[in-house]
């Protein structure tokens, strides 16, 4: 068996694949954050909570209404998206004229409330959500046993990420979004319905978090705490990628997933630090982030 640093190549491949799977979640979540940040200048601290919400909606649909995974895959992001729309209309839209930090603080509060409510109602030890029968089981790739569901997560996230990227960078709607990012009032004065654009963007970003959540439900325990642990890492991912850069968020998400995967093999104690260490290095070398424009 070939070895690299004392680890069989096959085991390493397995670990890389696992890293890529986690990277898929980082990518989807940081993408949502980047989209929201890009236009609203709001660091959506509630992103983790919305991810949790996505998973919980999946769980509740199943247990209360008997609605299974596939419909939930559509419904959960939709509901989270609508929730986002409501939040934007009722609250965030009132904050645009203020310092962007208020958006961060508001969503921070929102995250606490969401998490608190679910903790209160459903406890913290989490609830099970089964892998859909169609994707149950796994295949032996030779170097590892890959649960089919995890393979599906990678595929789904790639589709979602690059679809969103194309929407923003390649369409006319995208150029409205980018322009509104810089000077929303002026774009509105040109005749673009910017308030609607903002609402939909927050909805879209939230829906992306919800989608990640329902995708995660069969892998992790559906628990009120599932988002808050993840969100800070995702923030670091976004800093590394360069805020506001859509492509940066996606690519960095996958990359850091891989980096973390490797660390888990060679020095597992540091696997939760590696993202932050990379962030520190990137800040030293390229303060604007890997894909950020020069600030």
């Amino acid at each position: 068996m070939t070895m690299i640093f004392g680890i069989p190549v096959q085991a390493l491949l397995g670990q890389l694949l696992v890293g890529l799977i986690n990277g898929s979640f980082y990518a989807m979540l940081s993408l949502g954050l980047a989209v929201i940040f890009g236009l609203l200048r709001v660091i959506n601290f509630a992103h983790g909570a919305q991810y949790m919400l996505g998973a919980f909606i999946g769980y509740l649909l199943l247990t209360h209404l008997g609605i299974g995974y596939w419909p939930a895959l559509v419904l959960a992001p939709l509901i989270v998206g609508i929730f986002g729309v409501v939040v934007e209309r009722l609250a965030l839209s009132r904050l645009y004229d203020t310092d962007p930090l208020y958006g961060l603080l508001f969503t921070f509060g929102l995250a606490l409330v969401l998490e608190g409510i679910f903790r209160y109602c459903y406890g913290v030890s989490g609830n099970p959500y089964a892998v859909p029968p169609l994707l149950a089981g796994g295949t032996n790739l030779g170097f590892m046993f890959l649960p089919i569901y995890r393979g599906w997560v990678v595929v789904a996230s790639l589709i979602v990420c690059f679809g969103t990227w194309a929407l923003i960078e390649k369409t006319r709607l995208g150029s409205y979004l980018r322009a509104a990012t810089e000077n929303p009032r002026l774009v509105q004065a040109f005749g673009v319905n910017v308030p609607l654009l903002l609402t939909l963007t927050y909805g879209l970003g939230s829906a992306l978090a919800g989608l990640a959540g329902i995708l995660a439900a069969p892998i992790y325990q559906v628990s009120p705490l599932m988002g808050s642990d993840l969100i800070i890492v995702v923030f670091a991912v976004v800093v590394v990628g360069g805020m506001g850069s859509i492509l940066g968020a996606i690519v960095t998400g996958y990359m850091l997933g891989l980096a973390e995967g490797l660390t888990k093999v060679f020095y597992p104690e540091a696997s939760n630090l590696v993202v932050f260490v990379i962030m520190a290095i990137v800040l030293l070398v390229r303060p604007a982030g890997l894909f950020g424009k020069d600030a």
């Binding site: 208020y102 903790r119 520190a280 800040l283 303060p287």
Partner: protein, 330 residues
């Protein structure tokens, strides 16, 4: 490169534009101090001391947010870090309390130097996220480092005898000691804010490029402010370790960083008294809710949302604006 300040931007995170007249302010300060001197005879001292520690913590934090415009989401690092240093020095090395507290402050300043070094490279939200991430690193460090005793925390820290004469185990002794130190700390912050140095901080917050072109080394100023804020936050943490006789992970979590933001926001960003009031309210609320059965996180979160939406200036800022606004403008 020059970022144009949009003239459509409304109220931003800056100090209250309306302020009471200096004379009124002094009267209020005098009343406040008198109340604090008398308080331990009416209110539970431990609670008061906790409130005082958090008040200092919030004021130190406000030095950075309210007067330099930098939102740190990692101030728990300094608060909790200093608590660990002090607790360790006093308990394990047997240092006297005053030395332990100084060590805690110095340690916090050092942590501030390191974190600041990275964070001041970016502004605004980026700054917030970087401090958050770095403080999370420190949290993991504390979880794993043997000297912090991990999940258990450093327990049973002796309060000791101050300067070899004042026995801090007597409730009134420690209370007045804490009160004096906190007041000194807050005075230091007030001094910094209302100093020539503070003026430069303000101008940097207003227009960084212009400050550079006037010859100010902006990075140096920001770093200095960051370190000062960290050291003072550390002072608060060290005091807390002596008061409660332990240092645990709670004080280095990001939730603690969030809590100090809440205190400042609730009381009034960029006001001197706001953070003190905010800290008292939050500490009081946590205590009340603990026995009420109402989930604390929900309450905290709701306060955050309401503050941001309805009274962004915070209680004190709002009072200033309502009562004194018209006078102040003229």
């Amino acid at each position: 490169m020059a970022e144009e300040t949009s003239d459509m931007a409304g109220l931003s995170l800056r100090e209250a534009s309306a302020k009471p007249s200096p004379r009124l302010e002094w009267v209020l300060v005098g009343l406040g101090i008198a109340a604090l001197l008398a308080a331990p005879f009416f209110v539970y001292p431990i609670f008061l001391m906790k409130m005082l520690c958090f008040a200092l913590f919030a004021c130190a934090f406000n030095l950075l947010l309210g007067y330099t415009g930098l939102l740190s989401f990692g101030h728990a690092t300094f608060f909790g870090g200093a608590a660990y240093f002090t607790a360790h020095a006093v308990k394990v090395w047997g240092w006297p309390p005053e030395a332990g507290i100084l060590l805690g402050m110095a340690g916090a300043a050092l942590l501030g130097l390191v974190m600041g070094f990275f964070a001041i490279r970016r502004q605004g939200i980026y700054f917030a996220m970087i401090t958050l991430a770095l403080s999370q690193m420190f949290f993991f460090f504390c979880v794993q480092a043997p000297f912090t005793q991990g999940e258990d925390g450093i327990q049973g820290v002796p309060r000791g005898v101050l300067f070899g004469v004042l026995d801090l185990n007597a409730p009134m002794n420690i209370y007045y000691f804490v009160l004096v130190v906190v007041l000194l700390g807050i005075f230091a912050i007030w001094r910094i804010v209302n100093s020539p140095f503070g003026m430069i901080l303000r101008s940097i917050r207003e227009n960084e490029n212009r400050a550079i072109s006037l010859g100010y080394s902006v990075a140096g100023y920001k770093l200095a402010a960051f370190v000062m804020s960290a050291a003072l936050a550390g002072l608060a943490g060290s005091l807390k370790a002596i008061v409660f006789q332990f240092a645990t992970l709670t004080d280095v979590t990001w939730q603690m960083s969030g809590e100090v933001i809440l205190m400042t926001l609730l009381g009034g960003i960029g006001t001197m008294v706001g953070p003190i009031i905010g800290a008292s309210l939050v500490v009081g609320l946590e205590n009340t809710l603990a026995t009420s059965g109402f989930p604390v996180t929900i309450a905290t979160g709701l306060i955050f949302m309401v503050c941001v939406l309805v009274f962004r200036r915070g209680i004190v800022g709002e009072v200033y604006a309502r009562v004194l606004g018209r006078v102040g403008k003229g």
